[in-house]
């Protein structure tokens, strides 16, 4: 298996820049997510790693070898697409054996290899069935089997679950992750679904407009987003933004929000002008003694919790609280924000301001 290193990779299609100079490293054995909205450059990045697209500039290293300008066939990776293509006239066994047979592997060895893979995927009992009659999930397992059987250095997957319905997607994502944990193969996975990225990934790269916005472990990215884009793209509902105009100086630990004093993590940098106070929905508490107030606009019941939509002097926000709390539309509620969880952003550049809370995550650069 392999470490993959991307250095200053850039891709242009005519006058359009699909990927701006990007750098990150995928460690051996990681389940790595490329996350972003459509058109952000995530699929182009994956295709460049695979050799299906050549970078305009920059280097790609697989296990230390520079492969940026090499074709896909020389990179020893396996690609699994959203639409899994199987040979319809062959049975399951033949579909899985095909890559080995075409490499000229001896029959006995192929047989052994295929039964091993079938065992891992739990499809041993269907090896002699035609692929035509298989369910969507089983077809996908066979497609995976065909990718795994070659023992490639890495697996690349482009929204492999995108075409499945929600319930089944949840099941397959667990299965894929468990399979990865058993095999330990480096996997690079493209998705636009932030929950899928959080759930499955060891590391995430968040991209937007061809730019890497943030790179790190899921919980760090969730807790300490580097930009407003990341804060909004990750989390459902996303981070709340309360816009205000003011000044924060280095070492301060509070801001004035609509005339109310709000505690924040001690700042490591100062800023002035249009700023954004960011708070996640689950870090808002209802507190009768709080000086900051919101008026309830709507509630959404979710079983364990509920989302309460509130109008505040600085805009509409959403709070996640226990479903057992009684909330009436139109009532005014005191709101307390958990001070250790607050992010401040420069409203114009969208970049997070460094504080003692996020410098451990963002300070590295």
């Amino acid at each position: 298996m392999a470490q993959i290193r991307i250095e200053n990779v850039r891709k242009e299609f005519g006058s359009f820049t699909a990927v701006q100079s990007s750098s990150f490293t995928i460690e051996d054995g990681e389940f790595f997510m490329l996350l972003g909205p459509s058109g952000c450059g995530k699929t182009t990045t994956l295709r460049m790693m695979a050799g299906l697209e050549l970078p305009t500039s920059g280097e790609i290293y697989i296990d230390g070898d520079e492969v940026g300008q090499k074709p896909a066939s020389q990179r020893d990776i396996a690609f699994v697409f959203q639409m899994f293509a199987l040979y319809p006239h062959m049975n399951v066994r033949k579909n899985i054996s095909y890559p080995l047979v075409s490499q000229g592997m001896p029959k006995a060895q192929v047989k052994k290899k295929v039964s091993e893979i079938a065992e891992i995927l739990g499809i041993t009992h269907m090896l002699d069935r035609p692929v035509g009659g298989l369910s969507g999930g089983d077809r996908q397992r066979v497609a995976l089997g065909r990718a795994i059987v070659r023992d490639p250095k890495a697996f690349f997957m482009d929204e492999p679950l995108g075409a499945l319905d929600a319930e089944f997607r949840e099941h397959m994502s667990q299965e894929l992750r468990a399979l990865h944990d058993r095999m330990g193969a480096t996997t690079v996975y493209v998705t636009h679904d932030q929950l899928e990225a959080m759930q499955m990934g060891d590391k995430i790269v968040v991209m937007n407009h061809g730019v890497v916005e943030q790179f790190g472990v899921p919980q760090d990215i969730y807790d300490w987003p580097a930009t407003k884009f990341v804060a909004q793209f990750i989390g459902s509902p996303p981070m709340n933004f309360l816009d205000f105009n003011g000044m924060v100086s280095k070492d301060t630990d509070s801001v004035d929000l609509g005339g109310v004093h709000m505690s924040i993590p001690k700042m490591r940098q100062g800023a002035n002008g249009d700023l954004t106070f960011g708070i996640r929905p689950e870090h808002i508490r209802f507190d009768d003694s709080a000086d900051y107030h919101g008026r309830v606009i709507a509630t959404e019941y979710l079983g364990t919790t509920q989302i309460v939509v509130l109008g505040t002097p600085n805009g509409v926000i959403k709070a996640r609280i226990a479903a057992s709390v009684n909330v009436t539309i139109g009532e005014t509620i005191g709101l307390a924000f958990h001070p250790r969880t607050v992010s401040l952003f420069d409203a114009i550049s969208g970049k997070a301001l460094l504080s003692e809370a996020n410098e451990g995550v963002l300070g590295r650069g």
Binding site: P37, D165, D193, P237, E282, E300, L302, T304
Partner: protein
């Protein structure tokens, strides 16, 4: 606005039974969501009410009026589909006016103008009224097709997964919008989805369908807190309810075959040891994949838990559900 009644409605397509003796009352002014996986009979129910399809048996009435033999146009219903179908050569305004110009309605011009601007206001597309329909984003197009249903002010709105082709952010915005439009206008709305979040957040009532049968009908909270079966319990809640053999914790009542545990029904820190198999951090919460006496279960814990793979956690059930051999709830 009107109440809709289905009485003993049956429908088959060849050998496939699509609806099996469905009886349901959709109260006047309610927002009813039909929930179930593909093939449960959701869309078939909607098509029966709309008149696009006829029941083999049973009756359908809208506002007390029997619908037998009436065409969709005569039923005074408006449908919104997953795939918005707008007239591409017309502007947004013309698309919205179109239903009002029908020979049945023959709306006067000033009246038409008033209704269109009202609806555009509600859907926040006033500034796009003079755009070509094709110049809109996906979300705006879907809002226009909802608008086209709204201007007609029908007795009943019928919507078939209207949000499922939109992206996550827009879907969550439109959920709140649709809910408030319905609540403010007092319209009766029958809505089909397989998305449990939509069902939970918008519905006044959820109808749970299982292979053509209506298995439970009630408020979202009722169904979540008081499911009639394993099947109904599994429709709502993320992560999904854990279903284990009834005696795994001991103390199961007579006749119980399985025990159902939602995350909030699993008390952590007390009871018997379970093994942490995997930690799944979702940001706002962390899911624990546990192994308990060779059974897998998933629960939720604090986002910043210090637990890691291989740790043990004590768990015990807290007000669990018990189900019998056919999956019916024991009370």
């Amino acid at each position: 606005m009107a109440e809709v009644n289905l009485t003993n409605v049956c429908k088959s397509y060849g050998a496939d039974v699509a609806l099996d003796d469905v009886t349901m009352t959709i109260p006047d002014g309610s927002f009813v969501v039909l929930l179930g996986p593909t093939g449960a009979g959701k869309t078939t129910t909607l098509r029966m009410v709309s008149g696009l399809d006829k029941p083999e048996n049973g009756r359908i009435s809208i506002g007390g009026r029997d619908m037998d033999g009436l065409t969709p146009a005569q039923r005074d219903v408006a449908m919104v589909f997953q795939q918005y179908s707008l007239y591409p050569h017309l502007t947004v305004r013309q698309n919205l006016e179109f239903p009002l110009k029908s020979p049945i309605l023959k709306t006067p011009a000033d009246e038409m103008k008033r209704q269109v601007s009202e609806v555009a206001e509600v859907l926040q597309i006033s500034h796009k009224l003079d755009n070509k329909a094709t110049d809109l984003s996906g979300g705006e197009m879907q809002r226009v097709s909802i608008g086209r249903a709204l201007v007609r002010n029908p007795s009943v709105f019928l919507m078939d997964e209207p949000l499922s082709s939109l992206d996550a952010k827009l879907r969550s915005d439109l959920r709140i919008e649709l809910k408030s439009i319905q609540a403010n206008s007092g319209a009766t709305l029958l809505y089909v989805t397989h998305d449990q979040i939509e069902a939970m957040t918008m519905a006044t009532h959820i109808g749970v369908l299982d292979r053509g049968k209506l298995v439970q009908f009630g408020a979202p909270r009722d169904i979540y807190e008081n499911p009639v079966s394993v099947y109904a319990a599994s429709r709502l809640g993320q992560p999904r309810i854990n279903v284990l053999p009834a005696d795994v914790f001991g103390g199961a009542p007579d006749g119980a075959v399985t025990i159902g545990l939602r995350p909030e029904q699993i008390m952590q820190g007390e009871g018997e040891d379970s093994l942490v198999q995997r930690i799944e951090r979702l940001g706002d919460q962390t899911r624990l994949h546990l192994s308990f006496k060779d059974h897998a279960l998933i629960t939720v814990t604090d986002a910043h838990t210090t637990l890691k793979d291989g740790d043990t956690v004590k768990i015990r059930p807290q007000n669990p559900f018990y189900f019998d051999a056919v999956g019916a709830r024991l009370t």
